[in-house]
Symmetry: C2
Subunit: 277 residues, 2 copies
């Protein structure tokens, strides 16, 4: 595994590669990331991971400064899994103040986008930059960030990017909590409670599979229950997988998505509901 | 020369090419375009032109419908000059309603951008799509559209696009008028008057080279004179070549840019001023 920190050196290293699988991350790697990297091996002869905490996708009052940076430990984990780790400094990615952006589709203003204005614009912009730098044939993203994956797919399709996007399944702790770098912000009590988010989404999924169709009531009950237990809920929503708009009875593939804060920690989760599965 | 109209067929045709020079156009080709294509031959083994009148860069009251479409004649002109002409239909480029865009830098709101809101956003978006489809090593754009070229350079740099941008010199009629597809909208009287725009910019350039530094007065006098002759002037501005902001006495490379309407025809022109040239 080779660690590269400049764009020029990375391009030089990759210029003879014609089968690249790319996994962009913000580092602080857990089994969810590593799983994605192993999956990458099935899609490319050369597996490239990036580690870059992207300032553009954090709001002014968010956790950009405190976001865990663990490059050395990350590289150890990746030693036998990827071929190249690209870990640029902020001024390598943004040598001048960025003033050209990807304007993401309107769905970027909903759900997490409503809670984090500008987040998806910053995310889409850095992902496009990284795709242009690495020029992979395949890029992999975790399904845990479901809306992010959706927006990336829209960007790739509408901007005709020459890359195939693959979504990786969410990896969970034994109690069901979706793995996330932000889980380490949780204290012991919060960590125990955290599993309840996933349980809530599974309950909704089970009810829908059992025939429940009053989506507003299901969402409302979930928000009420979570709030009573001390969560600050951004949203719990049953959506179409295809467009992330509120679920439409004509469609067959739905997903329950949610974001909620436990103390200062914002957690995301989702459960897909395939009626034909 | 091969005429291709679908993205899939174009990608198939180009997949073995590793030295592509690309010239995007809106067709109705004149010597300015052809000159750019010949220049392309010096930059790539395979020269690809695109012909696409991009609805996204026209305002609702602009000339999208009447813009001259002359594909057959264009292809005849290109027969011995380029290897591939890509001429997609609108629904090939926009199979769904476009909702992902390039957000261009703030300079896109000035000059032509002030007169044509959204123009550069639409232009940058289609150029990015075309670059992603063709994947050229070099792309060429005429300097006649000076602000467009500037915005494309900014986009390429800030989004890390793997392409070199080359600007081609403006080709002019014998009387100095910059060649443009829109010149054919001019009636005989307007055509005769049209040369005055270029003369005005050359006069300003000569005065600046002669030591004049009251840029505001030079601009104001030019606008007054053009207006008296019946032009509707959008702007005449002396700018830095580097950022297209109003000329800064510390810089050495300036450019006079202008846009003005004669009857219903909007004409652009510019003259570079190199103090060290």
């Amino acid at each position: 595994m080779q660690l590269i920190s400049t764009i020029a050196a990375l391009r030089e290293r990759l210029k003879q590669e014609h089968s690249i699988a790319f996994i962009p991350t913000m580092g602080n790697l857990h089994e969810g990331h590593l799983n994605l990297m192993r999956q990458g091996r099935q899609h490319g002869k050369c597996v490239v991971a990036s580690i870059f905490v992207n300032p553009l996708q954090f709001g002014p009052s968010e956790d950009f400064e405190q976001y865990p940076r663990t490059l050395e430990a990350d590289c150890e984990k990746l030693a036998d899994i990827v071929d190249v780790v690209f870990a640029p400094a902020v001024n390598e990615m943004y040598p001048v103040r960025q003033s050209v952006f990807v304007e993401p589709p309107p769905i970027a203003d909903e759900w997490c986008g409503a809670a984090r204005p500008g987040h998806f614009r910053g995310m889409a912009t850095v992902v496009l930059k990284l795709l242009n730098i690495v020029q992979p044939q395949v890029a992999l993203f975790g399904k845990k960030d479901y809306q992010q994956l959706h927006i990336i797919r829209e960007m790739v399709a509408q901007l005709n990017l020459p890359v195939v996007i693959v979504g990786g399944e969410t990896v969970r702790a034994a109690d069901g909590l979706a793995l996330s770098s932000r889980n380490q912000y949780l204290n012991t009590v919060e960590r125990e409670e955290a599993t309840f988010l996933h349980q809530t989404l599974r309950d909704i999924s089970a009810k829908v599979l059992g025939g429940a169709r009053d989506f507003m009531a299901l969402q409302h009950d979930a928000v009420t229950m979570l709030s009573k237990r001390g969560w600050m809920v951004d949203y719990v929503a049953i959506c179409n997988q295809s467009d992330l708009l509120p679920a439409d009875a004509q469609q067959r593939d739905w997903v329950v998505i949610a974001a909620a804060k436990l103390g200062r920690t914002r957690l995301l989760d989702n459960v897909e509901i395939g009626l034909d599965a």
